[in-house]
């Protein structure tokens, strides 16, 4: 409609692209924080089998900056993926459904669960299994080259930064096993990147739909 005059303020706010971006970022952030808390709990369980009531509070209080960091990272990743998709001009078409995304998240939590609960004979086995599982995750739910590349890059970067933190003594592994790196860390990071990217793409799909609907209407 060419005659459409000034819009109402409320509508303008909701449909603003930036606002939408912020909303998406916030959702991704909270998902990231939540997953970080839960997965951290899983990892802690590996060492402490029973939880006297005081342990829970100590978990939440120690290293308070880890969940926000994870949240920020996941927000960035979740926004980056659809952005790169649109830059490359190859929109992601593979399995764009919420059920598939849920499946992906469940598998991701399962990988963490396995790494925390299952007793492996040695660390090489653990790392290989996790790597296979992560690649399987990518193959099942993503299958895009850009996703794979981004996942690998981010996983390496994240491992590197964690390592730097450890060197500076901010953070401590319980037992470094392979070149002073917990060998399963990159795999977990990779799976996490794929998962968050999947969620981010699915969220971005809503905006795409709305945009296309608007142009259609015009």
């Amino acid at each position: 409609m060419s005659t459409t005059p000034s819009r109402g303020p409320y509508i303008a706010v909701v449909t603003n692209r930036n606002t939408n971006l912020v909303i998406r970022g916030f959702m991704l952030f909270s998902i990231g924080v939540f997953l970080a808390l839960v997965l951290n709990l899983l990892q802690v369980q590996r060492n402490v089998t029973l939880f006297p009531p005081d342990v829970i509070s100590s978990i939440f209080s120690s290293a308070w900056w880890v969940p926000p960091c994870c949240g920020t990272a996941s927000a960035m990743i979740g926004l980056l993926y659809p952005c790169i998709d649109s830059r490359l001009g190859e929109p992601h078409k593979f399995k764009r459904e919420w059920s598939s995304v849920m499946r992906c998240v469940a598998v991701f939590v399962g990988i963490n669960h396995a790494s925390a609960k299952v007793d492996f004979a040695n660390n090489v086995q653990l790392s290989l299994t996790l790597a296979a599982l992560s690649i399987g995750l990518w193959w099942t739910f993503d299958r895009s080259r850009s996703g794979f590349g981004l996942g690998v890059v981010i996983a390496l970067l994240a491992t590197l930064s964690t390592q730097l933190l450890v060197y500076n003594g901010v953070f401590q592994y319980t037992s470094p096993d392979f070149l002073y790196i917990r060998s399963w860390l990159p795999c977990i990071f990779f799976a996490g990147v794929i998962t968050m990217g999947n969620i981010g793409r699915q969220l971005a799909l809503y905006e795409c739909k709305r945009m296309s609907g608007k142009t259609h209407q015009d």
């Binding site: 005659t3 000034s6 109402g8 939880f51 459904e97 492996f120």
Partner: protein, 1236 residues
């Protein structure tokens, strides 16, 4: 043909045959699958039920050896967890101490101070007992308390032997104990503040439940009980027996007959703590979300939820089958089932099921069910097989990781996948075939009455006159069904559902269940009501002697109450206790005298001699503790008991008798300050507290359960209340209305009644409740009966004779003319585009001034009588003309009338039998506005001419052509007509009814209410229409909206202003400014509410009495196209296809409904809670309270209908809307109003 293609073909053919099979014999196949599911699940019966309660196994002490790790044959009932050494051996020394004889000089604190003080010497004794190598070598050495338990540090031993006793409160130092002014406070300060049901520190140290310790100021029995708990790492029978002998020698327990030959091994299941639960709950939430998102996609089937249920059943039973099969072949599940279950579901997935459904549904509907199923199956066969193979491959890879846990998971998953495939192929396919068959039957059933209710197909365009449509069956049968009749029509299943929905049976059932559950919880809780009640009974029975006749009176003295598992034997074994009391000589006589009859007398006052008795319940005193007692003790040292066991050795009884002198000696100076024991009532205080605790806990648990169920309910029945911007997809044709619902409203077939006859698009629509007038682009006006939909009158465009009969079907001539004139009408309708009232814009795009035709040849020229140039006249002249005066517009007209007698023509006139041509209706110009009151149709034409037609007879009653500018809007209120013109002027007309003198049936005053029950103008009346006032420059720009109600006329214009006029004197009351765009919609009703909407998307609410703006809100992008108010809210629709509902008093947006693109902008309110909107070929009914889509009624056969542009709500809960060239009359059954 490659191998792949051949394979594909073969698979496809096999699936096709399988589909045929399944659809042909549904019942046998379902029976077969159910049987196989049950058979596969049978081995599950042998698995232990999940639970966290500990399991016990008792062995004899005498020939005890540590069990070996290897299972050594079958040793009777020995459980399989009884292997290897236990985590620890528990040796408890049970101390019962009393000050005796009780002296009246003693203070309450004496009851426990000196008995507790003896613990230190006992500890000393135990620690220093040396047989082979002493306690230090045997006991479980602990190293460190768990970090985070700092507050326990002072109490629990931090290193060395794990030996706990009440002495730990004072660091096992006698001096600290002696200098402690308030023992109770010391004990209490370590108690957790909040509710704590499991083992507290006090339980841990005392080793007996709090109630039984007797460490209280109000203890009536004055016996203190506590234990010294030794946790031994290894078992040395000789050390233990020598310790036992030593303690017995030091502190003999005369009447003790505790068994000492049995040790109990307690095996603990895996504990699920809060922290462990969080990841588990997360995975389950993800699982539920997955299932929800998956089943949401099932569409186009008869029963969506039925199929979703079938899908979930398929997956679950395949899991059960896999577990069952694995157990059958000797694979004992070591994994925690609850933990891996969500992952298994996710791996197996619901995808195949959904793919199958989609594929089957997308096959052509007219095929036979069998063939549909078969075709759908074979279409998807390749992808199903491919997926299956991929998943198997992945799992196989997982199997070769050689990690036992993963291998086991993979094994389960493989069996689960295969059984899932089996179930999909047999169970789900069959269910699907049944569902599809039912849907087709249901469709058939539904189609029949619907078609019966529809009019016959339209006559072909070529021969329209051949078959005039027969009289329609009465539409009332559709709408006015009695409830009984409606019930008869409903299938049984739906009736059950409605019953459930109406009575909210499920909700109530859940509520009652919750209450019962809470009750049971409170009753059976170990610390709960039952024990409390038992305590009450046993305490009060000696007092109420007669009432509790059967009860052994000594129960009041027995320490502790028979636990829940207490059998009669235990009470019997206590019987000798009072008969053989303490061995002290001075009490001997009294004890012997104490015949059972005397005991009540004794207990009425606190007994002078506290009696220490040993009963069977003391044998296993640890049973009365929380079953988390031992796990929590060990967990403080980071030792888990999950899936392990401990061995509890028989207790060593120690009886201590202290003399009053000793008690007084150990007294602390502050002890005497304590008040004497108050009345017996306070006894109940601690018990009461427990009761409250349990009640609070139960309540919290109940609330949690209800919340959980509520969440589940919301997930299952996703009832979308209209939130902001929620896109309500319009229901597709053929969908059941229950989709958005959870339960469906009674499907009363709202079938629209199509009123056909217009040849072109309908432009104007007017109704007064009884009649309905419509005008199409061709200029033809048709009058319909609003009740029956019969066409009453046709006012044709080119009729040479005025059709003046009553029935629709006698209007052959008009029909003919119309049919012939159709092609040129089309041209004429589109060419003078200026005449077309563009609904989207809300105002005419172009002005078109038609030259005023000279029509009144044979009439007296009255032009000198009437000065149309109102501008030059002082406005006050006419403005103040009262209505009565307007009745005869000056004497001039009257006179002219008389002069011109036989064919007397004035401004308006017409006598029924007047030859054609005298009425001179203006056929050249299009009708732009139309109003209907009584039986008068007021039509405003593009030429500026106002015509009044008799609706029943179709005759032109009068016309007025004072204005030259086209009439864009009309309002007809009382006897006034207000016409808004294109040039922004506003004309007020008065309609006069002059009764012919010969006719005396005066029907009442001419000024009538605006809603007459029946038409009041008779055909004999002479009706004249006089211009009373013309406001030349009402607005600067064309008037777009005109509304009249409550004696006010409100106009809205392109010039951004709204003006309010008084109807009776045409006086402009207010000019309302506030919009920043042209006015596009106005609403005013009898309650003087005025709402206006403009092109700026703003909606203003005004106070008509003061002219002030009440609120001003922005709600739409683009024009506000329509506005309606109810008593509580304002409803607006805009060009952005959004319908917004605002609170009328506050102006806050309640919610909005996003409609499909291109939906009509027409709105109507049927009742306070029922909104109707027009859409593309359909009308939708919404529940205003929640924004629910209630029903969508499709108007035509084809879904690509035109949008509904106009929508009029009639009085009898019917709505009329235009639908291209047809009108649609939709009766709204009152069923849509919710019952509750």
């Amino acid at each position: 043909m490659t191998v792949r293609e051949r394979l594909r073909e073969k698979i496809s053919a096999a699936f096709y045959r399988h589909g045929l099979l399944c659809a042909s014999y549904p019942v046998p196949i379902i029976l077969f699958t159910s049987a196989s599911i049950l058979a596969c699940c049978y081995p599950l019966l042998r698995l232990p039920l999940p639970g966290t309660g500990p399991v016990e196994f008792t062995t004899r002490v005498r020939d005890y050896t540590v069990p070996s790790h290897e299972p050594q044959g079958d040793l009777g009932e020995r459980p399989d967890w009884y292997r290897g050494p236990p985590v620890a051996y528990i040796q408890q020394v049970l101390v019962k101490a009393a000050v005796s004889p009780w002296d009246s000089t003693l203070v309450p604190v004496d009851v426990f101070r000196s008995p507790l003080g003896r613990v230190f010497s006992l500890l000393e004794e135990i620690r220093n007992h040396v047989h082979n190598d002493g306690l230090e070598a045997l006991c479980l050495q602990v190293t460190d308390l768990l970090p985070g338990l700092r507050r326990m540090q002072t109490v629990l031993p931090e290193h060395g032997c794990l030996l706990v006793s009440p002495g730990n409160y004072w660091q096992n130092q006698r001096e600290l104990f002696d200098s402690d002014p308030d023992l109770l406070k010391t004990v209490h300060q370590h108690e957790p503040k909040g509710l704590h049901t499991t083992a507290t520190l006090r339980d841990l140290l005392f080793g007996v439940p709090v109630k039984h310790t007797g460490v209280s100021l109000y203890s009536r029995k004055r016996v203190v009980t506590y234990t010294i708990t030794m946790v031994l790492g290894s078992y040395d029978a000789r050390f233990l027996s020598s310790l036992r002998a030593r303690l017995r020698q030091l502190h003999p327990s005369v009447n003790c007959s505790l068994r000492e030959d049995q040790m109990v091994h307690v095996h603990f299941k895996e504990e699920i703590g809060m922290a462990e639960l969080i990841p588990l709950v997360t995975t389950y939430i993800i699982l539920f979300a997955y299932i929800y998102f998956s089943t949401r996609k099932i569409d186009m089937v008869k029963s969506k939820w039925g199929l979703a249920l079938a899908a979930v059943v398929t997956v679950l039973s395949s899991l059960l089958m896999s577990v069952g099969l694995c157990t059958l072949f000797g694979l004992t599940p070591t994994l925690n089932g609850g933990e891996i279950f969500p992952y298994l579901v996710v791996v197996i997935g619901l995808e195949n099921v959904l793919v199958l459904t989609k594929s089957v549904v997308s096959t052509p509907v007219d095929l036979e069910v069998k063939l549909r199923i078969a075709q759908g199956l074979s279409n998807e066969s390749w992808s199903i097989m491919k997926n299956m193979a991929t998943e198997l491959c992945i799992i196989l890879i997982g199997y070769f990781t050689l990690v036992p846990a993963i291998q086991e998971f993979c094994l389960f998953a493989v069996v689960g996948l295969v059984s899932d495939f089996f179930l999909q192929m047999f169970f789900f396919t069959t269910v699907l075939s049944i569902d599809i068959r039912r849907m087709e039957l249901a469709d058939l059933n539904r189609r029949l009455p619907a078609e019966a209710g529809m009019p016959l197909p339209k006559p072909g365009p070529l021969r329209p006159r051949e078959a005039p449509p027969p009289p329609r069956p009465s539409p009332h049968t559709i709408t006015l069904q009695t409830p009984a009749f409606r019930n008869l029509r409903l299938p049984k299943r739906l009736r059950v559902v409605y019953f459930l929905a109406r009575t909210r049976l499920a909700q109530r059932f859940i509520m009652v269940g919750t209450v019962i559950w809470i009750g049971i919880l409170a009753y059976t809780d170990p610390a709960g009501l039952r024990t409390y009640l038992a305590a009450q009974v046993s305490e009060q029975s000696p007092l109420g002697e007669g009432g509790a006749g059967g009860l052994p009176p000594h129960l009041g003295v027995a320490p502790g109450f028979p636990g829940p598992g207490g059998d009669p034997a235990s009470t019997l074994s206590v019987l000798p206790a009072p008969a053989e009391p303490t061995p002290l000589p001075e009490n001997q006589s009294q004890g012997h005298h104490g015949a059972p009859r005397d005991v009540p007398l004794q207990t009425q006052a606190p007994p002078l001699v506290p009696q220490i008795s040993w009963g069977a319940e003391d044998e296993e005193g640890w049973r009365k503790l929380s079953f988390r007692h031992w796990p929590s003790l060990f967990s403080y040292y980071n030792i888990t008991l999950a899936k392990r066991y401990i061995s509890i050795l028989p207790v060593i009884p120690v009886t201590l008798h202290l003399s009053p002198r000793e008690a007084i000696e150990t007294r602390h100076p502050q002890d005497t300050r304590h008040p004497p024991p108050p009345s017996l009532k306070t006894n109940d205080l601690p018990a009461d507290l427990t009761l409250y605790k349990v009640a609070a806990l139960g309540l919290a648990a109940g609330v949690l359960l209800v919340l959980l169920l509520f969440c589940l309910y919301r997930v299952l029945c996703s009832r979308n209340y209209g939130q902001n911007g929620v896109a309500h997809g319009r229901r597709r044709r053929g969908d059941l209305p229950c989709d958005d619902y959870g339960y469906s409203p009674p499907i009363s077939e709202i079938s629209p009644l199509l009123l056909r006859g217009h040849s072109m698009d309908i432009e104007c629509l007017a109704s007064d409740g009884m009649l309905l007038a419509s005008c199409c682009l061709a200029g033809q006006i048709r009058v319909w009966d609003a009740q029956t939909g019969d066409c009453l009158t046709i006012i044709p465009k080119h009729g040479l004779r005025r059709s003046s009969s009553s029935g629709c079907w006698e209007q052959r001539d008009g029909w003919d003319a119309m049919g012939v004139a159709e092609p040129e009408n089309l041209g004429g309708g589109t060419e003078p585009g200026g005449g077309v009232f563009d609904e989207d814009e809300g105002y005419p795009l172009r002005r078109r001034t038609t030259p005023r035709p000279a029509l009144f040849e044979n009439q007296p020229d009255l032009t000198p009588l009437i000065d149309t140039n109102f501008d030059s006249q002082p406005p006050s002249h006419l403005l103040l003309t009262p209505p009565r005066d307007g009745f005869d517009f000056g004497g001039l007209v009257e006179r002219a009338y008389l002069e011109h007698e036989p064919p007397s023509r004035s401004l308006g006139y017409i006598q029924p039998p007047v030859p054609q041509g005298q009425g001179t209706p203006d056929w050249e110009s299009a009708v732009w506005a139309m109003e209907l009151r009584g039986n008068l149709i007021a039509a405003g034409r593009s030429s500026g001419k106002l015509e009044l037609w008799d609706a029943v007879e179709g005759s032109l009653r009068c016309s007025n052509e004072d204005g030259v500018s086209g009439i864009t809007a009309l309002a007809f209120l009382n006897n006034r007509i207000v016409a808004a013109r294109l040039d922004g002027s506003l004309d007020f007309f008065t309609v006069d009814i002059n009764k012919p003198l010969g006719l005396l049936q005066y029907r009442g005053p001419p000024g009538r209410s605006n809603m007459p029950p029946s038409p009041c103008y008779s055909s004999e009346d002479v009706i004249s229409c006089q211009l009373t006032r013309s406001v030349q420059c009402a607005h600067q720009k064309p008037i777009t909206v005109l509304r009249a109600a409550a004696g006010r006329v409100v106009t809205g214009s392109q010039d951004h202003t709204v003006r309010v006029y008084r109807l009776e004197d045409s006086c402009c009351l207010f000019t309302l400014q506030g919009h920043s765009g042209g006015i596009t919609a106005i609403y005013i009703d009898q309650t003087m509410v005025l709402a206006s909407g403009g092109q700026d998307g703003a909606i203003c609410l005004w106070d008509v009495l003061t002219g002030s703006r009440v609120s001003h809100v922005y709600g739409h992008r683009g024009d506000v196209t329509s506005l309606v108010c109810t008593t509580s809210c304002v409803i607006s629709s805009g060009l952005d296809d959004l319908i917004c509902i605002w609170d009328r008093s506050t102006g806050i947006k309640l919610y909005s409904i996003q409609q499909e693109v291109g939906c009509g902008a027409s709105l109507g309110v049927i009742s306070e809670s029922l909104l109707v909107t027009g859409g593309q070929g359909c009308v939708s009914f919404w529940d205003l309270n929640f924004g629910d889509l209630l029903q969508t009624v499709y108007l035509g056969q084809s879904s690509d209908g035109q949008g509904v542009r106009q929508l009029v709500v009639l009085n009898n809960a019917a709505i009329v809307c235009d639908f291209g060239s047809e009108l649609s009359l939709v009766y709204v059954p009152s069923v849509l109003e919710k019952l509750d």
